[in-house]
């Protein structure tokens, strides 16, 4: 189970967006009333991600196919399809945010596909405050970064000391794009107010 700090990190995009734009009149309502299609694509991606993390024995042959890249590519396909099918439902100013988010997911997916997992820089992990035991522990899909790793700049190389984690450039784009998108959704209501009715 993730610790409290890690959970806070996971909800950071939503919290940041609510802090920036949630206080505006109609802001939260705009987010809650969002009508999105093909939500099953997100549900399917969640199921794949959950299986990828929990690694149940009955699914190992599929999860570890092609060096473990099959589920990652599947998640990328599902999320990209969901975003593409819902672009019309999003405010026009939110579309660059979607592109930023997808660029981050693509960079992470490419790095994982090239290495059979997302490599992490051991030095950055130490800097982030991870113990030697945590660094040496086997974590599915997270091999240490070596000189033989491919596309090293796309790997987890950025230490995040507060939550004892190492992030990638793609992660930053994912966080930034998602936060930006949620803000544009919550600000749409205030930018395009309904015309006042005259008595």
């Amino acid at each position: 189970m993730p610790g409290p700090l890690m959970l806070a990190f996971m909800v950071l995009p939503v919290v940041a967006a609510v802090v920036v734009a949630g206080w505006r009149r109609g802001g939260l309502a705009a987010l809650l009333a969002l009508r999105l299609r093909h939500r099953w694509l997100v549900l399917a991606a969640v199921v794949v991600q959950f299986l990828r993390q929990s690694e149940p024995g009955w699914a190992l042959s599929v999860l570890r196919a092609a060096g473990g890249t099959l589920p990652v590519v599947l998640i990328w396909l599902l999320v990209t399809a969901f975003a593409a099918l819902n672009l019309a439902a999003l405010p026009p100013r939110g579309r660059p945010a979607v592109a930023t988010f997808l660029a981050g997911m693509t960079m992470n997916t490419v790095a994982i596909a090239a290495n059979g997992g997302m490599p992490f820089a051991v030095g950055s992990a130490r800097w982030a405050g991870l113990s030697e035991q945590e660094i040496r522990a086997y974590v599915p899909g997270h091999p240490p970064l070596t000189t033989e790793s491919r596309l090293a700049p796309l790997a987890d190389v950025l230490p995040v000391p507060g939550v004892h984690a190492v992030a990638s450039v793609g992660d930053l784009l994912i966080f930034g794009g998602l936060t930006w998108l949620l803000i544009t959704i919550m600000m749409r209501e205030t930018r395009d107010p309904e015309p006042r009715r005259t008595p």
């Binding site: 995009p13 809650l32 009333a33 999105l36 939500r39 997100v42 991606a45 899909g141 997270h142």
Partner: protein, 32 residues
């Protein structure tokens, strides 16, 4: 009925956002 529909839309919206956040961020829960 309208309120129920609005509430249901809100639940679906939040669940979708939570799902996207989970899919995008879940790798962090592994430790590194």
């Amino acid at each position: 009925m309208t309120r129920l529909r609005l509430a249901w839309t809100a639940v679906l919206s939040m669940a979708t956002v939570a799902g996207v956040v989970y899919v995008a961020v879940a790798p962090y829960t592994q430790g590194h």
